[in-house]
Symmetry: C2
Subunit: 144 residues, 2 copies
């Protein structure tokens, strides 16, 4: 297992253990973790803190992101994909894109490299959550 994706998965599992949505993220630069985070819609009543956004929030003000890679357990939504493009993050490593995600073409059309690991562990984690908490999941992806 990629060690940065493992940290992102650990973040996702932490979020789920808090009653939240199991999506985690890591920002990496030069082989080191700059910041990590997980979805906090439930924990902080906050609709903008998806896993990727919480991670970037935790990273604080960075002079540049051109030398970073963002890891996320799930294919980014358009909020997070738009943020990756705006922040000029050159590469995203994604745990899985089977349960959600339509932003790949948008990301790639803006020059972002998208690597999908297609990890069964990430698929299982999302499927367990979506089955257990369908209303919460639909709220998070604005499908209510």
């Amino acid at each position: 297992m990629d060690k940065f994706m493992q940290v992102a998965i650990d973040e996702a599992r932490l979020g789920r253990s808090q009653g939240g949505i199991p999506i985690g993220s890591v920002l990496m630069r030069n082989g080191e973790i700059v910041a990590q985070g997980h979805n906090k819609r439930v924990q902080e009543l906050n609709p903008i803190l998806h896993g990727e956004m919480d991670c970037l929030n935790n990273a604080g003000r960075q002079r540049t992101y051109r030398d970073t890679v963002l890891y996320t357990t799930l294919m980014p939504c358009y909020m997070c994909a738009g943020t990756i493009v705006q922040f000029k993050i050159p590469k995203v490593v994604v745990g899985e894109a089977r349960t959600f995600g339509e932003s790949r073409e948008f990301l790639e059309s803006h020059g972002v490299e998208v690597e999908i690991l297609d990890l069964q562990e990430c698929v299982d984690m999302m499927n367990e959550f979506i089955t257990a908490e369908p209303t919460l999941w639909n709220e998070d992806i604005m499908e209510l």
Copy 2:
């Protein structure tokens, strides 16, 4: 002056008075303000709290945004535009798009109505800020 845009401008001016970036936003539903906010990169050392994101943060968890309009003093960046698309906000009213903004085509291609008021007051507010604080502005739009 549109009264919701006036509140967004007041938010932007409040942000500037705090040493921050003068961009403000209002979320409106049924002729009433749901939430308002302004860019807080400087105030909270937070790169994701653009004016629109701070406003949506302040609105908390909403069941739907399909009946809302988002007002912003400046054309949204891709982070904020991606958020508008993801949240299914059907309409954005923009103070001005002369000093910044390339997301109009992206928004419209995803069915978002974009109304640009082209207010000189908003242009002047941004030009004053960009001239006074070019490095801070370039940090906010990731052009450092």
